[in-house]
Symmetry: C2
């Protein structure tokens, strides 16, 4: 941020204008999509949107925030995960399932995530965006919160089940899965998410 | 097939030619993709490929067979499911997981299924093909074999987990999930597939 005073308002954009924030978000979306999370910088986004880097920092505390807002992710996993795990890991499966279904059952909060998922299936760069976003914002904090072996693999198995529900319930619209009430489904899913996360029993023969 | 004698070889194609079979399969793929499973008929495929309907019946016993071969599905679920369930439902989760991973771990057998899945995510007609194929060839026989309530929903929850693994391990290539050995993964997955299929415990609080 040290260079901000020398580069102020070079494109004449003023802080506080809704246009300015929208321009930053549009540039961020493009940069994340073209270069992935790691190679995108707040300074690069400032340059692409023609604003002072200080202004990007004014609106967004971090690259994580910029990422979440540019893809309109309707929740902050960095807050949610500590909340979910505060009282231990019992019941975390159902909590994750319920929150996921709430977001996907509402067309407005589903849209940006569904769009990102659809893009990731057909485009390697979009896949990289989704992958890096998931790793940074969900897998890393979730596996840190889990006091179990293979925590990262477990977090990814959870993601695989949820992404599969996104596809089967909302994109393929399989029936009766698509019209199963949220609370019934949250129970079924919660059970297997809980198993993915905390079941330590080893050989399949035991089950 | 009664009309076959009057329409024989109208396009001059001869039975037994590899070209003839290839032409039928190409036409079938197009018809299934354009119209879905239910609205595609063996006679329609014959017409589209310019061969006598009797010839389509000569190569393919049923529309199911035509479907499986036109999308190069590398196994016959109508055989597999009775095999899996012959000795009861214990261990069926691991059997399904192992077979799924074998098919997807081999790029050659994965390709047609991965292509169908990618198409289904971006195209409603491809989604309809995948949906109708799944319902007819997997969900129906699997839920018939299950002596449990909500059998069809359970079969679809299994499909959601597997489709999610297809995405996360093979398309998004999340690590360590993508390089986890098949037998380790089959155990983890088998456990939750088994739960989806046969776990009758009700409230999530019990788990």
């Amino acid at each position: 941020m040290a260079e901000s005073t020398t580069r102020r308002s070079r494109a004449g954009r003023r802080p506080g204008s809704p246009d300015t924030k929208a321009a930053i978000l549009a540039a961020a979306r493009e940069q994340f999509a073209a270069n992935g999370f790691d190679k995108t910088s707040m300074r690069g986004v400032a340059k692409a949107s023609g604003v002072d880097p200080a202004l990007v920092h004014h609106y967004f505390d971090s690259k994580d925030d910029l990422f979440l807002e540019s893809f309109q992710i309707p929740f902050d996993p960095r807050q949610l995960i500590p909340e979910w795990t505060a009282g231990g890991l019992d019941g975390i499966g159902v909590q994750i399932a319920t929150r996921f279904l709430e977001v996907w059952d509402d067309p407005q909060t589903r849209l940006p995530i569904e769009t990102l998922l659809r893009s990731a299936v057909v485009s390697d760069t979009a896949a990289e965006v989704l992958r890096s976003g998931l790793v940074r914002l969900i897998f890393a904090p979730l596996s840190q919160a889990l006091d179990v072996p293979d925590a990262l693999l477990r977090a990814q198995l959870v993601a695989s089940q949820l992404v599969g529900i996104g596809l089967a319930r909302y994109i393929l619209k399989l029936e009766p899965l698509a019209s199963t009430p949220r609370d019934v489904l949250a129970e079924r899913l919660g059970r297997v998410l809980q198993s993915h996360l905390t079941d330590l029993s080893a050989p399949p023969g035991v089950l």
